[in-house]
């Protein structure tokens, strides 16, 4: 056994000495932590938010849980505080086209003030104008107009009646009109008496009646005209009364907003409209009798109030009390939430709306500042992504209710005037999303020119320890957790490397670290401790592993029961313990797998059974093909490979992907060719290249620990261990229990650079190098392999010659 390849416990020990930390507990670390390891990202953010050209919106990418959102928001808020507060916006009734409400901008905080002024104006009108209409003066004047109309009509009828009476004719009221009849003694002449009259008399009466009827017709035809005249007078009376009230109320407002021409112009329109609709200030009598919900559109229980809504102001952006420009995080970027919407209310079964039902979206709220959106959520909501691009391209916010755009809602709606847009959009998402958008959407690169790429790890050095501890202290403070003592900090730092899967790095996954702190805090409080100690962190780590350890334990149990065949002692030809890792629910689970190889004389084909059964992924197949290349390149270069070999992951019934078992497969293969038994007390992981060099793989910690767990569950004999690529040594951050066994010599780790080193460890035989004669030593592994391959080659030649003779 080559002891020079063995890794000693000291090399594997990643612990930090708590005594080296310059504090007792994190309670002493009051200084706000600096941004750790994100210099590139921070520089990109600074550039992106400072760049004023269009299209320089930001895409912040990195895995979730790294803290990119809170960091970017913090930076934006710091920057926003020093910038000018953007203008307020409000929607107003458009008198010239009420379907297109007018958007008006105000100096910061002024929109609400104007709205309040207009509310007061409306209240004054609501009270003042009906009071005028209720006044004795108005009633008298209105009655006068009504009376003069009636008198005019009555007078016309009376004159006609008088003329008729002079001729002995009466004007009678019929159920639906008027008629003339001859009178005798104050009563209508009966038909018999009329029949007895001389014809001349009859004709005379008829002629008079006809003449009177024509006159009556003229009178009745005049009546509508008289009524219109009376109504016009009444309207003018209403207008004159409203004018004095409205003008008085508006004068003050006009003076106050004299410096704002747009508002003054709106006030002028209000005045004109109020005069034009003076009648609307009075509650129509017929509306009073209608039950609730049956009122016609636009007429509420208080029709005057419904009418006066048009003079109110719908403030959609109110910057009153704001310091700096807005920073908005849209958590639910639906189309309506982003761009605003026009709501409707049901009246008499119809959906109606007006400018006061326009609701702003987050684009309105963030206008003049920054809007942060989760990219995946944005893409998940229909039309939101297209809408954002359209808004950024057009540089305006146009409220188009989605239901109407899709034709789902067929009702009268509004087209609010668009509002100019000037903001930075910050999308937050995974890297994959950025690359996909970049590739699939040509507009994306035009609109999101700044990429902010967040690091997941930071170099573990002495200089980072204190800032990292400050970061932990801040997390503890924010989460109202107990302070960490320095032992706990040292343990968390170690776990930081473990999460990063690199002894020379520390993880920057803030959420994972924060979870660990919270769980450690739970165990500390459970033990009524005042601070979080190393033991609490250890307990939190172990408890988290235990919670997610069902699959891991089940696999181990099956190995121990012999259901899954994995040996941890003895020797076997063409059989090696490989190590695999699978990921489920964010948890990586390592487990040992038996790999076997069989060889015989053949046509030079190495069969990967996984690939043949379509259970091997492309990278795994690549590994096996590399293995063939290695064989062809190293042994009997002048002869054709005349073997048939099969390789298989035993008891594997799912997809096998990755090349981390290629070194193990090669070792099994060479063991079979060399007929050299492999020690089953060892497991091996690593990928191989065509030159026989062992290359780094992923999940090394989980793989090592999986084999260790199996061996420990049986008996640690002192000969068991795992062979790992030398390139992975820095990635080893192993559990403390394993380290203790290494220290005690009960378990070993070996770091290899070549397959020869691995073979020597696995077989106990020298690998052998070619001598000056170009041959490998006879009893070395390589010598045995080459001898076997030569034998196959000779047989192939002999067979070939025999065939040629026949």
């Amino acid at each position: 056994m080559r002891s020079d390849l063995r890794l000693d416990a000291k090399t594997l020990d990643r612990r930090i000495d708590p005594r080296s930390l310059p504090f007792e507990t994190t309670a002493e670390l009051v200084e706000a932590p600096a941004v750790l390891g994100q210099a590139r990202a921070m520089e990109a953010v600074r550039f992106g938010v400072s760049m004023e050209q269009p299209g320089y919106n930001l895409f912040v990418m990195g895995p979730s849980g790294i803290g990119k959102r809170s960091l970017v928001l913090r930076l934006l808020e710091e920057r926003a505080a020093g910038l000018a507060v953007p203008r307020d916006w409000a929607y107003l009734f458009a008198f010239e086209n009420e379907r297109r409400p007018k958007a008006l901008s105000f100096p910061p905080g002024k929109a609400r003030e104007f709205a309040e002024d207009m509310d007061r104006f409306v209240e004054d009108l609501r009270v003042g104008v009906p009071a005028v209409f209720d006044s004795d003066e108005y009633r008298a004047r209105a009655q006068d107009i009504e009376q003069s109309f009636h008198e005019r009509r009555e007078q016309a009828f009376a004159e006609l009646r008088g003329r008729a009476q002079e001729d002995g004719i009466a004007l009678l009221q019929t159920p639906s009109g008027f008629a003339f009849a001859p009178l005798k003694n104050g009563e209508v002449l009966d038909p018999e008496s009329f029949a007895k009259l001389p014809d001349e008399e009859k004709e005379k009466i008829q002629s008079k009646v006809t003449s009177l009827q024509e006159e009556l017709t003229k009178v009745i035809r005049e009546i509508p005209k008289w009524r219109r005249e009376a109504q016009a007078k009444l309207r003018e009376l209403n207008r004159s009364l409203v004018r004095s009230t409205v003008s008085n109320l508006l004068e003050e407002l006009k003076a106050k907003y004299a410096q704002m021409p747009a508002i003054c112009s709106h006030l002028e329109s209000v005045e004109k409209d109020a005069l034009k609709n003076a009648e609307s200030f009075r509650l129509p009598k017929e509306a009073e009798a209608l039950p609730p919900g049956m009122l016609p559109p636009g007429m509420g229980p208080d029709a005057v109030d419904a009418f006066l809504r048009r003079y109110r102001v719908n403030v959609v952006v109110d910057q009153r009390g704001a310091n700096g420009c807005p920073v908005v995080l849209e958590e639910n970027p639906t189309f309506s939430n982003l761009f605003g919407t026009v709501e409707h209310i049901a009246q008499m079964g119809a959906l109606v709306t007006d400018f006061s039902l326009i609701r702003p979206g987050s684009l309105h709220k963030a206008n003049g500042g920054y809007l942060a959106i989760d990219a995946l959520r944005l893409l998940s909501h229909p039309f939101s992504w297209e809408g954002i691009k359209r808004a950024l391209r057009g540089r305006q916010i146009r409220i188009e209710p989605l239901a109407e755009a899709l034709g789902i809602l067929s009702t009268v709606s509004l087209e609010p005037e668009p509002i100019p847009l000037d903001l930075k959009v910050i999308l937050l998402g995974e890297r994959t999303l950025y690359y996909l958008l970049h590739e699939l959407d040509p507009e994306f690169s035009e609109l999101f020119k700044v990429v902010v790429d967040f690091e997941e790890e930071v170099d573990r050095s002495e200089s980072i320890v204190v800032p990292y501890a400050q970061f932990l202290a801040e997390e503890a403070r924010k989460g109202k957790l107990l302070p960490l003592d320095r032992g706990a900090v040292a343990r968390v730092l170690e776990e930081g490397s473990r999460i990063a899967a690199d002894a020379k790095k520390l993880s920057l996954r803030g959420r994972t670290m924060s979870d660990l702190l919270q769980e450690a805090d739970f165990w500390a409080r459970d033990a009524s401790a005042k601070t979080i100690s190393e033991a609490h962190v250890e307990k939190a780590v172990a408890a988290a592993e235990a919670r997610s350890g069902r699959i891991r334990e089940r696999l181990r149990e099956e190995v121990l029961r012999g259901t899954l065949l994995v040996d941890s002692d003895g020797e076997s030809v063409g059989q090696v313990n490989g190590l695999a890792v699978l990921e489920a629910g964010g948890v990586r689970i390592g487990h040992p797998n038996r790999i076997t190889a069989r060889v015989r004389f053949g046509s030079g084909k190495v069969v990967d059974i996984e690939r043949e059964a379509k259970l091997g992924g492309p990278i795994h197949s690549k590994g096996v093909l590399i293995l063939s290349g290695f064989l062809a390149g190293r042994y009997v270069p002048q002869e054709p490979l005349s073997l048939a070999a099969t390789l298989v992951f035993e008891q594997s019934y799912g997809m096998v992907e990755g090349d981390s078992a290629s070194c193990a497969e090669l070792c099994a293969f060479l063991s079979a060719l060399a007929e050299a038994p492999i020690r089953q007390s060892l497991a091996i992981t690593g990928s191989i290249n065509q030159k026989g060099e062992v290359q780094a793989i992923g999940g090394v910690n989980e793989k090592v620990e999986a084999f260790f767990e199996v061996c420990r569950a049986r008996t640690l004999s002192g000969s068991q261990g795992v062979i790992v690529p030398a390139a992975n040594v820095d990635h080893l951050v192993l559990r403390r229990e394993l380290l203790e066994k290494v220290e005690q010599g009960l378990f070993h780790l070996y770091a290899v650079r070549t397959v020869d080193e691995a073979l020597e460890l696995l077989t106990g035989l020298p690998a052998g190098e070619r001598g000056p004669d170009g041959r490998y030593p006879e009893e070395s592994i390589n010598g045995r392999v080459e001898r076997k391959l030569l034998e196959f080659a000779r047989r192939a030649r002999t067979l070939s010659a025999g065939e040629a003779r026949t």
């Binding site: 009466a170 019929t174 009849a181 009563e187 209508v188 038909p191 006809t210």
Partner: protein, 270 residues
């Protein structure tokens, strides 16, 4: 005071008038009789060969047929009867409905002979020869001896009650009736004493009648002119003004003017 039968006269149905009449009937536990009058003048006109009518809103001419007229009158009567029925059911009062045909003042006077109180509305729709409602009211009282309550739609009978007193013999029953009404409601009695009645008012018999009312005031020196009487009534805020037309010192024109100009209901007594 006992009122057995209240008559509501109509040619077209008035909701407000019917409501007022029904409430009065309910108050006095009297029977409400609706007399629907078909003016015979109209029927005669419809039989004349040249009869035609002109639409009130359209000014269109159309033939005025007897069958059409009768159908229209039946429709009006039927509507009035249905409305009265539902009103009577609501207020739990006995009621009757009768269609009369004749000259309005004659027919109503005859029908009102056996009636305690006839209600006439200022704005009640009428068809036939136009008759001033005030004239009709006065004629009914004169001819039938029944009391006529002349009022506007929606104007309730309420206290204080006023009575015009001129010292004639017929004024005493009127004063007695109104004093009884003031006691029953109860409410204040306001006596509007005309120049001619001032001296008689202080007689013991009359004073005894006045004492029946919970409270009473006397306004004296009012000249027998409609304008003066109406001004005094408005000043006192009267909810009913009563006077006798039998041997009143008030000429008929003044009586009709009071009826036409009063803001409160007018009770005309024989």
């Amino acid at each position: 005071m006992r009122i057995e039968r209240i008559v509501l006269f109509g040619q077209g149905f008035s909701e407000g008038g019917a409501e007022a009449a029904a409430e009065l009937a309910a108050r006095f536990e009297a029977k409400l009789a609706y007399l629907f009058l078909e003016d015979i003048n109209l029927l005669r006109l419809a039989e004349l060969p040249f009869a035609s009518e002109i639409g009130i809103d359209t000014a269109c001419w159309r033939n005025f047929e007897l069958s059409d007229l009768e159908r229209s009158l039946r429709t009006l009567a039927s509507h009035a009867e249905e409305s009265l029925s539902s009103l009577a059911q609501r207020l739990h009062i006995p009621w009757s409905f009768q269609v009369l045909r004749g000259i309005p003042s004659q027919a109503l006077s005859e029908a009102a002979c056996s009636t305690d109180l006839v209600l006439l509305l200022r704005s009640q729709p009428r068809v036939g020869i136009p008759t001033r409602a005030e004239t009709l009211a006065r004629e009914i009282v004169s001819r039938s001896g029944a009391a006529v309550l002349y009022l506007s739609d929606g104007t309730p009978v309420q206290t204080p009650f006023g009575v015009v007193f001129s010292g004639t013999p017929s004024d005493l029953p009127t004063l007695r009736l109104v004093a009884t009404l003031a006691r029953d409601f109860p409410g204040k009695l306001v006596v509007l004493s005309l120049d001619s009645g001032e001296a008689v008012f202080h007689e013991p018999e009359i004073q005894e009648v006045v004492r029946e009312a919970p409270s009473a005031i006397l306004l004296t020196g009012i000249s027998p002119k409609a304008r003066r009487i109406l001004a005094a009534a408005a000043h006192e805020g009267l909810g009913l003004l009563a006077f006798s037309v039998g041997d009143s010192s008030l000429p008929p024109q003044e009586i009709e003017s009071i009826c036409a100009g009063a803001l409160c209901p007018i009770l005309l007594l024989p």
